[in-house]
């Protein structure tokens, strides 16, 4: 955020006739965002006049004041020693909120009613909260102050502030009032007037008292001047007011002037106490392990990336970041050496970040400085020091200067401007834009050759010039048009279509989609580690719980389960599709499902479909059929998947190759009966499917035969089914399990599974004799081969 004082701005561009809110809007629309327009006023803070003052009957220092605030007379108790009859004062009325957040309320003090507060400047945050300022008592307004009006008007705060929310490209030119004045001037078509910089000098030359040596390329410009016999005191009101309005606290005239110039030109200055500095300045890179105690009293360790100002031997300033405690201005300073320099932006950025010393100055160095302003700013500093600190200015400037001053030139044609913007700007309009921007140009035909001013380091090439014209001409002139491209429908590229199909199908099947974080904790990373390879940690995580890129979605779904169960949601049926990484080069799009509780129910009817293994298996089967993997997928028991129930888990195969697994979560990880699935959609997508083709239904009737086999509990139905298929041959059209039985008439370690076999032929009607014969053969072969019995 950058605070611009419009009073100050008016020194450089005439905005006295402008409606400031409208101006803010114009500037914003042209591309420099004035986020808020701030006016100093508070309806509950008014000018009052003391009609009468008498002592509080029950206190030795409090006064009871009768205060006229125009529409009423208030009684206010005040402890300040300087209250006087007829005095004009600042009254905070009942309900007024002061800058520190205190709310003023009607109250009773020692038995006497008080209806507000008389304010001191520090209570309005216009002065520092110091014992001296406290001693001064309440603020006395000038006699001409109008009772009932806005007191800020009589304090120099009749100013309107533009709060700029700057894009990084405009940091360099809009974080100072002169630079912003050029922007305002361009928008309004007005001229900019620069401030006075010339001052008288004394008969002494800085070159005789100081030498500057720069032995690093990271300082492209270093200017030094010197002033003598400064008188340290309070700044004049206008400097104090402007600094406050821009968010800086006045300290003393010398320090204030350096800040004032930074806000005026964008050029940070550094003031050394000449007596402490000595006669030499050497600018070099710091050595590793070198230290300096900075102004704030902290010892800083430096490294080779830091630019350092030294007195020839000892560090006196971390360039662009903070001065040293050994050379700063204090109450007893007489002679001042002024530094106005340009340092490498990246180096300042690095150093200020490393030392955690981001400041208004470092911010400006980081975005690049205009060398023209560097030269003007140091002269302006001398001018102000002479005028407001009684300084005697030495002649001469010591300058180290390796700045590349080649003029920056870019060309653009009117037709390029119009074709890129889609506008129809005339040559005169374009000329007017460049004129308003104060960008000098030559025009040949319709081609502009523009010399870009140094204050605008964000403009460099043709397209930048197009933007400058476009934003000043106004984007409100753009008509909506459409690109002239062939008419076609776009598609999902790659595996996205599969993912979308899976997602929509699972939702149709009643599962809720979740979205969880890709970054997980080390504990989560240990869970469901079936396919896990080496962990992939971030280099610098923000916190441990988000420090690793996940390889499985299931630990996150476990969290979702717990979150919802804790909120009374018993039935959790969810899925998520997300990219996971088993190594940094290999992205794997996974599908994870978690089901717990009931899948479907109508309690009063006694209908309960549990979210169990077979429910989940049904869902994934439905999905595979939908995707076109008929007869190509299977479920193979697997007891060795970590965190999974050893007796209720299966690998999921397509074409006999695993794509993932499903089953019940091991009760030691999740106590509540919970089923999960995780498979690689990337792998599934690699298994090509044929697109749908119509197949005629069998015209001839089929014959259904039922049989129940008794088998050991440990045997899987799949084995029996395989054997049935093998012995039936091609007349068998379908096998369906219609009953699974354990209990009476079946031994304890056995179970009975009943199958319905459907026989048929596409070319003829089967006779019951041949089906019976085949059926009996199947029974005989299956029982013999697998050593089963038939249940009657």
């Amino acid at each position: 955020m950058m605070r611009i004082s419009t009073n100050w701005l008016n020194d450089y561009v005439d905005i006295s006739d402008e409606n400031l809110k409208e101006l803010a809007l114009k500037v914003t629309n042209a591309g420099v965002n004035v986020e808020t327009v701030e006016e100093y006023s508070n309806p509950l803070l008014v000018v009052g006049q003391l009609l009468d003052v008498f002592d509080h009957p029950d206190s030795d220092h409090l006064h009871v004041c009768k205060v006229d605030v125009r529409d009423e007379v208030l009684q206010i108790i005040c402890g300040a020693p300087n209250v006087q009859k007829k005095m004009k004062v600042i009254v905070a009325k009942n309900g007024c909120v002061l800058p520190d957040g205190t709310q003023i309320k009607n109250t009773v003090m020692r038995g006497v009613e008080s209806q507000g507060m008389l304010c001191a400047l520090m209570e309005l945050d216009l002065e520092e909260n110091t014992p001296e300022n406290y001693e001064k008592g309440i603020c006395k307004l000038p006699d001409e102050a109008l009772v009932g009006s806005n007191p800020y008007n009589y304090l120099g705060f009749d100013d309107t502030i533009f709060n700029l929310d700057l894009n990084p490209n405009r940091e360099a030119d809009c974080t100072n009032h002169i630079g912003f004045a050029y922007e305002v001037a361009a928008v309004l078509g007005k001229k900019v007037e620069k401030p006075e910089t010339k001052c008288k000098t004394i008969d002494a030359d800085v070159n005789d008292e100081l030498d500057v040596q720069v032995i690093t390329d990271n300082c492209t410009m270093y200017n030094a001047r010197k002033v003598k016999n400064v008188v340290i005191k309070e700044s004049p009101d206008f400097i104090k007011e402007r600094l406050i309005n821009c968010g800086m606290r006045p300290i003393n005239n010398v320090v204030d002037i350096s800040n004032y110039i930074m806000l005026e030109y964008g050029q940070p200055l550094h003031f050394f106490d000449a007596a402490k500095l000595g006669k030499h300045i050497l600018v070099r890179m710091a050595e590793k392990g070198e230290t300096i105690v900075t102004l704030d009293g902290v010892e800083r360790k430096l490294c080779e990336e830091d630019i350092l100002i030294t007195d020839g031997d000892n560090p006196v300033c971390v360039a662009g970041v903070m001065g040293g405690a050994n050379s700063g201005i204090d109450e007893s300073t007489k002679d001042v050496v002024i530094e106005a320099a340009i340092f490498d932006p990246l180096k300042i950025r690095y150093t200020s970040k490393r030392l955690d010393l981001k400041s208004e100055a470092s911010r400006r160095y980081e975005h690049g400085l205009n060398y023209e302003y560097t030269l003007e700013a140091i002269d302006r500093a001398c001018y102000l020091l002479e005028k407001y600190a009684d300084a005697e200015v030495l002649t001469g400037v010591i300058t180290h200067d390796i700045v590349d001053k080649t003029p920056r030139v870019a060309k653009v044609t009117l037709s390029k401007i119009n074709s890129l913007l889609g506008l129809d700007i005339s040559l005169d309009e374009a000329k007017k834009c460049f004129n308003n921007l104060m960008f000098p140009f030559e025009l040949k035909g319709e081609e502009f050759t523009v010399t870009i001013p140094n204050r605008r380091n964000d403009v460099a090439m043709r397209e930048d010039l197009v933007e400058e014209v476009g934003r000043l001409y106004g984007y409100q002139h753009l008509e909506n048009s459409m690109p002239d491209l062939e008419i076609r429908r776009g598609t999902y590229v790659g595996n996205i279509a599969l993912r979308k199909a899976v997602s929509k199908r699972l939702r149709a099947l009643g599962l809720n989609e979740t979205r969880t974080y890709s970054l997980i904790s080390p504990e989560m990373d240990e869970m469901f580690a079936y396919e896990k390879k080496q962990s992939i940690p971030l280099l610098k995580p923000m916190s441990v719980d988000k420090s690793i890129i996940r390889q499985s979605i299931l630990p996150s779904l476990k969290n979702v389960l717990e979150y919802n169960v804790a909120r009374g949601v018993k039935d959790v049926n969810i899925y998520e599709i997300a990219n996971t990484y088993s190594n940094v080069e290999e992205e794997d799009t996974k599908l994870a499902i978690l089901m717990s509780g009931e899948y479907m129910s109508n309690t009063w009817q006694g209908v309960h479909v549990k979210s169990d293994f077979y429910c989940l298996k049904g869902i994934v089967s439905n999905l595979f059929e939908y995707l076109g993997y008929q007869d190509r997928y299977s479920f193979v028991p697997c007891s060795e998947i970590p965190d999974m129930h050893p007796g209720a888990t299966a690998l999921i195969n397509i074409d006999n190759r695993p794509v993932g697994y499903m089953g019940r979560v091991h009760p030691s990880l999740i106590k509540k009966e919970t089923y999960v699935l995780e498979l690689s959609l990337t792998t599934v997508a690699s298994k090509k499917t044929r697109s749908y083709k119509y197949k005629e239904q069998n015209k001839f009737p089929s014959i259904v035969k039922d049989v129940a086999f008794v088998m050991p509990k440990t045997m899987n139905s799949l084995e029996v089914e395989k054997e049935i298929r093998r012995s039936s041959g091609k007349l068998l059209k379908n096998i369906a399990v219609f009953d699974v039985y354990v209990g009476e008439n079946v031994k304890e370690d056995e179970k009975s599974i009943a199958y319905s076999l459907t026989f048929g032929d596409e070319t003829r009607t089967l006779t019951s004799e041949e089906v019976n014969e085949l059926f009996n053969k199947v029974i005989e072969e299956v029982t013999k081969k697998l050593n089963l019995t038939i249940r009657n």
């Binding site: 690109p483 491209l485 008419i487 429908r489 999902y492 923000m542």
Partner: protein
């Protein structure tokens, strides 16, 4: 004869009046039309009549039979209806009891919005493409005109995975770079790239270390900012209704020049000023611009002959505006009590 006939009809009516079920009706039917029924008995007298009398009497007799049958049929219908009504009465259910809970799963609200935007863009000829979330610094920054040390990298403080080479992408723009590089003829491009992105932000109501972007890229000969305006206008109206206006505000992105902010007129207050638009009447919903010539040439396109626009939206921000969500963390807590299985999500 007439008297007999009238009597039979009266007797029938008497008999039927006390009939209450099918069995009794059958008995009455037998009494009148059965072998020994009174109507049947009447026909016996035919034998003794002359042909002339027979003709006359036979006609009358048939009329009587028809009348009797009709009355029996009507009574039969009456009984049938009553029985059916009794059955229906017994089958009455309480229709106010709850139905079977047939649940369709809900999409994640962000995914729902992404899907609807994808549909819109595909109808406009845009392909939907994706890229890896663990991305090369080269694609995420360098080729997008964000060299190391660029101040704009600050705003996108990034999760690095491997030295300075690999990172969790901070934007979906690298997908645009990949698409341009992969286009061997350096021909026209129309794509949108939705996806997850990551930045070093502490999670709070308006920040999330993981978030979702959707970017679009269109490249061809002679594409202009006005084309971007037209395209954005369609998107804005799709998202926030036919009545919203759109405007561009000049802005800055390292990978576009000129760059603009995409504003829609406040759909809440219609431009009057309200808390949602912070009294400005406008809401910024995304960023865009003409593809920067350096990005074009980095990816093998000649900025003198080809131009294009790119735009980007934060899906969370759009969803917050569109559905009135006030805390971005809501999208990632997956509270199943929230169900957005709605046709307009």
């Amino acid at each position: 004869m007439k008297e007999k006939k009238d009597k039979i009809i009266r007797d029938l009516e008497d008999a039927l009046s006390s009939v209450s079920n099918a069995v009794e009706l059958y008995e009455v039917k037998a009494e009148f039309l059965g072998k020994k029924g009174c109507v049947t008995e009447l026909s016996a007298s035919l034998k003794t009549m002359s042909p002339e009398e027979k003709k006359n009497f036979g006609k009358k007799l048939n009329e009587l039979k028809t009348a009797v049958e009709e009355k029996l049929t009507i009574k039969g219908k009456e009984i049938e209806n009553r029985i059916l009504n009794e059955k229906l009465e017994k089958e009455k259910i309480d229709v106010t009891l709850p139905g079977m809970q047939i649940k369709c799963g809900s999409p994640n609200i962000l995914e729902g919005l992404i899907e609807s935007l994808e549909e819109l863009f595909m109808t406009m000829g845009y392909d939907v493409v994706e890229g890896p979330e663990v991305e090369k610094d080269l694609y995420n920054f360098e080729l997008l005109n964000l060299p190391k040390g660029h101040p704009a990298r600050d705003a996108q403080d990034t999760f690095y995975v491997k030295d300075d080479e690999l990172l969790l992408r901070s934007q979906t723009s690298p997908v645009q770079v990949r698409t341009m590089l992969a286009n061997e003829e350096k021909g026209p491009i129309r794509v949108i790239c939705p996806g997850k992105t990551y930045r070093r932000d502490d999670d709070d109501a308006t920040h999330s270390h993981q978030f979702t972007q959707m970017e679009g890229l269109l490249i061809d000969k002679g594409v202009s900012l006005a084309d971007l305006k037209g395209t954005f206008d369609i998107i804005a109206k799709f998202l926030f209704g036919e009545n919203v206006d759109t405007r561009f505000r000049s802005s800055f992105y390292p990978f576009t020049e000129p760059s603009v902010e995409l504003d829609v007129s406040c759909f809440n207050c219609g431009g009057e000023g309200c808390p949602i638009c912070k009294s400005t009447g406008w809401i910024t919903v995304g960023g865009a611009g003409m593809v920067h010539p350096k990005v074009l040439s980095n990816c093998g396109y000649d900025p003198d002959t080809m131009s294009g626009f790119a735009f980007g939206f934060g899906i969370e921000r759009l969803a917050m505006l569109k559905y009135g969500v006030t805390d971005v963390r809501m999208f990632y807590t997956n509270d199943l009590r929230t169900n957005c299985d709605r046709k307009d999500v």
